[in-house]
Symmetry: C2
DNA sequence: CTAATTGCAAAAATTTTGCAGGACT
DNA sequence: AGTCCTGCAAAATTTTTGCAATTAG
């Protein structure tokens, strides 16, 4: 991992344990929106002793620092996204894939919410992705 | 429940058991976006023997018929919505309230999704609702 | 050295499933 | 009558928690 990134993480007050670095590295530039289990499985080869508790703890810490966002599209399972620029998502109901959508949309804050504090918003498109469509034929 | 509604439900091929009617009645015009447990608790007084299995079974049947939608905003817990006209939602991160947003927004289908089948989309606004804001002061 | 983090195991929370008996049409 | 539905209990899935041992700063 790059020196500048390491310094950035340290500057946030994060203790940089090997496990955390591995999780951060796995999430960086990862656009698959992994679940906690995906992360756990991906890192298990290099960290056979790592536990789910560490994955969840780390994700929660990163979420509080704004480095990771939770995506709730799949019902039971949470998905995690380290791409934190504002963007939207497509969710394939068939293969459960989540695709980043970066096209801008002009959204105005609804009148109904004028007294609310809005921290963010996102559009979720639900449907069947192109790969799954082909397979259905 | 109105006769016309009963006929409508029957016309969908639903067996109208007392439990189902109670769940349907509870959900009709209910804009609180209840969880399965909320529904269970609300009906328990009248149906002390009803089980979670029945709640979940019924919700799944209604979802397949398009009468109920799942809302995934809260992470672990699913919320259910029987107001099926296209609309958006606000989620209060503090009190977990979900508010229907009916203001229209002009959304175009993004270029990235031109080969996908889009069944629906929705905007979710995240923030703090007006009631919670007042309490924070 | 100190506070934060890890790993383990157990618990919690939510949803799903199998099956026998019962109810709706 | 036949199929679908209910209720119970157990299981499955995902996430959270308590605590002792370890580690980063």
């Amino acid at each position: 991992m790059k020196e500048t990134k390491l310094r950035f993480y340290k500057s946030l007050g994060l203790k940089l344990t090997p496990q955390r670095l591995a999780i951060l590295e796995y999430l960086e530039d990862n656009r698959t929106h992994p679940s906690a289990e995906d992360i756990y499985n991906a890192l298990k080869p290099n960290f056979p002793s790592m536990s789910f508790a560490t994955v969840y703890n780390t994700l929660e810490v990163l979420r509080k620092k704004g480095l990771v966002k939770e995506i709730n599209v799949e019902g039971v399972r949470k998905r995690f996204d380290a791409f934190t620029h504002p963007h939207n998502h497509f969710f394939c109901k068939n293969c459960k894939k989540v695709i980043d959508i970066e096209s801008k949309q002009d959204i105005t804050i609804p009148e109904e919410l004028k007294d609310c504090e809005i921290n963010e918003y996102q559009i979720i498109y639900f449907g069947i992705c192109s790969e799954c469509r082909k397979k259905q034929d």
